[in-house]
């Protein structure tokens, strides 16, 4: 019987959900979920077992089941040509002395690894140089009071048919053991505020949200996240905007220039850069479900993904960004890296195991520490974590001024892309025409469509740091079995030339 190495990942999450819907404070809901994933690594096979029972007996039983799966994997798995024990040694080699203690100390803030390492990226994005200061959240009753104030402001008119103010707060603790040694302990608090308002007038229904219907404004931290989110005072603004939208004409159809705000850019980055660069998709793991990728392993290092203005990084160290961490779920130390530099594709979002599989196929790729799982009950797969488009030089006004005829779109409302992550169509909540370099008429139901492989080459203006927003979503779905995970996306406003846009049906 071959020897086995064992890793255990213990995860505890405590979430509290506060909602005021249509003026009624909903009952407080919470979740307290905890358990462990035992992974047994044979030299050429790996097996998993998730158990809520973390006493010696429970872990021993789970180890037995995981070992049985590992033996099945060794007999007919994908790892016949990979020395998994050597891979674990490599991962262990990436750990720094005192990692576990350091992570506990970095609780609730951004990760430390790689901070200040001199990546020539992330201009305009604040990086944590140490533990991030986090202000305490007020008591629950005060938070509900705050939501109630904004809920009241959302209901600004009798045509407002739905109005919701919500706040999710999650505390997470994760520990990782390699062969009985604690190598990582990481804690974080995630804050997800949102406002949503729907108005109906003469048969036209429109919705505005604070950060999209997928909680686009979400970060790690405390009360300062809430303050930065725009929730406070946001009710009146969104109510005003939704009442403008129900009176607005449909966005015109045609090929025109397009200016995207960060809260649409984040979805554009997510769907047409993030997913296609996930190495497990490129290796075919997701072809049965989430899909493959138009990117092939031979393209790294030479493929022009976009115009020279396109710079994209994987960065787990941006202050407060949602998916920051110091070590991924397979134990690889994380640090920021450039994925696309001046438009050229450099590396995939590929974890250590995926990179080892690519090597077997003849591709020696540098990757990222991005083996992640949604919780204790799922095995890690390649995920995008924090994926950011770096700011350029143009002010927002300059971006607008550079458009003779175009549309400015804000806040994602609809998203769809093919299984190779190429042909996409997105819709936004808010549109505004740009005429002769000026923002003019508000339009409703703005949408646009394109093809990833050519869309990014039409990027011809990137906003400066003043236009950047650090956003994300807790709802990125992928994997078999399914996993819905947190990802962060920071982006400036961006301008594209010659895009097919469209509006509402008649």
């Amino acid at each position: 019987m071959s020897s086995a190495r064992i890793t255990i990942r213990e995860v505890t999450e405590h979430q509290q959900r506060l909602v005021v819907r249509r003026g009624i404070a909903q009952p407080v809901e919470g979740t307290l979920d905890s358990g462990g994933m035992v992974t047994v690594w044979l030299r050429h096979g790996v097996g998993y077992c998730a158990t809520p029972r973390l006493d010696a007996t429970g872990l021993a039983e789970a180890t037995g089941r995981a070992r049985a799966w590992a033996e099945r994997s060794q007999a007919s798995g994908l790892f016949a040509d990979i020395d998994l024990h050597a891979l674990l040694d490599e991962l262990a080699g990436s750990h720094a002395p005192g990692d576990a203690g350091a992570r506990a100390a970095s609780a609730l803030g951004a990760g430390q690894a790689g901070a200040g390492r001199g990546l020539d990226s992330g201009r305009g994005l604040r990086h944590a140089g140490g533990p991030t200061v986090q202000s305490a959240l007020p008591p629950r009753a005060d938070l509900i009071g705050l939501l109630r104030v904004e809920s009241h402001a959302l209901k600004a008119h009798e045509d407002i048919a739905n109005w919701v103010a919500r706040l999710n707060i999650t505390q997470s603790t994760q520990r990782l053991w390699f062969d009985n040694q604690l190598v990582s302990e990481e804690q974080a608090q995630f804050v997800e505020p949102n406002l949503e308002v729907t108005a109906v007038r003469r048969g036209v229904a429109q919705t505005r949200t604070l950060g999209g219907q997928y909680n686009g404004f979400c970060q790690r931290g405390g009360f300062e996240v809430l303050q930065a989110s725009g929730l406070i005072g946001g009710g009146a603004r969104l109510a005003d905007e939704v009442l403008q939208l129900v009176e607005a004409p449909a966005c015109p159809d045609g090929v025109t220039d397009l200016l995207l705000a960060p809260d649409q850019m984040m979805l554009q980055i997510h769907e047409s850069i993030g997913h296609p660069l996930e190495l497990d998709r490129i290796l075919g793991d997701e072809r049965n479900f989430a899909g493959g990728s138009f990117v092939t392993p031979d393209l790294f290092g030479r493929y022009a993904y976009g115009s020279p203005l396109l710079n994209v990084s994987f960065d787990p160290t941006v202050e407060r960004e949602l998916a920051g961490y110091t070590m991924d779920d397979e134990g690889e130390r994380a640090h920021p890296v450039a994925l696309i530099r001046h438009g050229i594709l450099l590396r995939p979002l590929g974890s250590a195991l995926s990179r080892a599989r690519a090597r077997v196929q003849g591709y020696s790729l540098e990757g990222t520490a991005n083996a992640r799982s949604v919780g204790w009950h799922r095995a890690p797969i390649d995920r995008m974590a924090n994926l950011n488009l770096e700011p350029g030089e143009a002010s927002f006004d300059e971006l607008v001024a550079g458009i003779e005829r175009g549309v400015y779109m804000r806040t994602n409302a609809s998203w769809s892309i093919d299984d190779a992550r190429n042909k996409f169509q997105f819709g936004c909540e808010w549109g505004q025409l740009i005429e002769d370099g000026r923002l003019t008429q508000v339009v409703r139901n703005p949408g646009y469509r394109g093809v990833s492989a050519s869309f990014w080459r039409s990027l011809d203006g990137v906003g400066n740091a003043d236009t950047v927003q650090v956003l994300g979503t807790p709802f990125c779905g992928k994997g078999e079995p399914g996993q819905v995970i947190r990802v962060g996306h920071a982006s400036p406003a961006c301008r594209f030339r010659g895009i097919e846009v469209f509006g509402a049906s008649a």
Partner: protein, 509 residues
């Protein structure tokens, strides 16, 4: 009578079959119960007793349980990629005191060293602390009756035979025998050849749903199932980069490697056609034949608030114009939630019994909506014990008269759509939906499939596609498609749907 109006005799027959099946379930379950209830069931029973023992005189306690003991196996290139087991039981504990309520979902452990009362005590203390500064909930409505029901499905052995021994059942509880039981299925899928590689996912084991309360309610739903969802992928075309694949699937209550082999063989046969040069379609309207999966994908968009009373009354329903009578679907279209198929529990999270059948669309018109107890209170309307999501779990689409044998001939020249992908609303008010074609979608000429098509984006209103001038015919046979979602555990529910012949679907890109 319109072409696809449900034949009441067929309904009666189906109801009788469902009842017989349900009776079988109960009898089989009784036999199982007489021997060894599953670990999931035992934990649920412990929880019910703990609730009764833990509540204070002025408190009402209830819990919704979502449990699974699952084996998950994914394969790529005909080899194991990830395989593992998950044992997870979550209870949403709800504490009610007067008109105030709060809930906390916790993970239950089957650690014999920790009693259930001990496990839930910290959660109850936490909930009591929350209630101190909570307000009355004007929408509170929960069933306080001591309703007792049990619906335990057959197939509790993964060996393909009835559960033989206590040891076998216990071993299966632990997930161990399930691994052994899945071996023949994994063997079928562990194939590598030049005809295209195989990617697949197996989800197997028990799942349970339950509602229990401090007043003695105990409603339990349990199934053992195995589902294989796979696809065969041809080599990527080196010139065009085009990717072609065909889907296959099999599900059952016990492992059946022969049936799975047949499904894979059928897919391989179909994959042969995909080797022809692909046809690139220009944007525009095309006559299409939607296979049942593709029709189910389209109709699945109506779950996004289409039937929800709350969505309708808060301006968010894509079927607002249908309900208002401003739009209609074809009179051929009938759609209902029907729980008699046994795919989903007949009770909801507030403990109320679900109606066996709710007509949602009748002859293309809005028939009824789904109203949860809270929505009924909020808007002052009659409820129908819908779940809080107000989404149908077990959908039945009425059949028509189009036989599978005639379908391609009736299509003539057009597109055969097997699967759709990543659907979303591009204009919710207009019920306008966008999405992609995926897997084996074929160009058909004069009733003969001649070539695969390159993936196309469609963007069209369902009022047009499935409207009176759009929907030409529905298939005469409904296909059962269980819900294979595994986001927070294996899902219950599914859809029974036929194929659909549509005069025009608009491709946009």
């Amino acid at each position: 009578m319109s072409q696809s109006q449900p034949d009441p005799r067929l309904n009666e027959r189906r109801d009788a079959q469902a009842k017989a099946r349900a009776d079988d379930h109960v009898q089989a379950a009784s036999r199982e119960r007489a021997e060894v209830p599953s670990a999931l069931r035992r934990t649920f029973a412990d929880l019910g007793q703990a609730l009764q023992a833990s509540h204070r005189p002025d408190e009402f306690l209830c819990a919704w349980v979502q449990a699974e003991a699952s084996d998950y196996v994914r394969l790529n290139q005909g080899r194991l990629r990830q395989a593992g087991s998950v044992h997870r039981q979550q209870a949403t504990l709800r504490l009610i005191q007067g008109a105030r309520q709060s809930s906390l979902t916790i993970t239950l452990s089957d650690d014999p060293g920790r009693s259930m009362a001990e496990q839930i005590r910290p959660a109850l203390e936490s909930l009591r602390a929350v209630l101190i500064d909570s307000e009355d909930d004007p929408l509170l409505d929960v069933c306080r009756d001591a309703v007792v029901s049990e619906d335990v499905g057959p197939g509790l052995s993964s060996s393909g035979r009835a559960s033989g021994s206590v040891a076998a059942v216990l071993a299966q509880d632990a997930g161990v025998s399930a691994q052994v039981g899945l071996d023949p299925l994994i063997d079928v899928l562990s194939v590598r050849d030049a005809q295209g590689d195989l990617v697949a996912f197996i989800a197997a084991g028990r799942l349970g749903r339950g509602f229990c309360s401090s007043s003695g309610a105990s409603q339990w739903f349990e199934r053992h199932s195995i589902a294989v969802d796979g696809s065969i992928h041809l080599p990527v075309d080196p010139l065009t980069g085009d990717r072609r694949a065909v889907k296959f699937g099999w599900s059952g209550e016990t492992a059946d490697p022969d049936a799975l082999s047949e499904a894979v063989a059928r897919a391989r046969l179909e994959a042969g056609l995909l080797q022809r040069p692909a046809k690139r379609l220009s944007p525009g309207d095309y006559r299409v034949l939607l296979r049942p999966r593709a029709l189910a994908d389209l109709l699945g968009m109506l779950d996004w608030g289409g039937y929800s009373a709350r969505a309708h009354l808060s301006g968010q329903s894509p079927l607002a114009r249908l309900r208002a009578g401003q739009q209609t679907f074809s009179p051929l279209l009938h759609l209902a939630e029907d729980l008699s198929a046994g795919l989903a529990p007949a009770f909801q999270t507030d403990g109320y019994a679900r109606p066996p059948r709710t007509e949602l669309i009748r002859e293309g018109r809005f028939a009824d909506w789904m109203v949860s107890p809270a929505t009924a209170r909020e808007f002052g309307i009659a409820g129908n014990s819908a779940p809080p999501s107000e989404v149908p779990e077990s959908v039945v689409v009425g059949c028509g008269r189009l036989s599978d044998d005639d379908a391609l001939a009736r299509l003539g020249t057009g597109v055969l759509l097997s699967n759709l992908w990543y659907l979303n609303f591009s204009d919710r008010e207009a019920c306008r939906v966008t999405g992609m074609t995926r897997f084996a979608c074929l160009w058909v000429e004069h009733g003969e499939p001649v070539a695969p098509i390159e993936a196309m984006r469609f963007d069209d209103s369902l009022y047009r596609v499935l409207g009176e001038s759009g929907l030409e015919a529905l298939g005469d046979r409904a296909h059962r498609m269980p819900n294979l979602d595994t986001w927070e555990g294996r899902a219950t529910g599914g859809i029974l749907a036929p194929s659909a012949l549509v005069r025009a679907l608009r491709f946009a890109l």
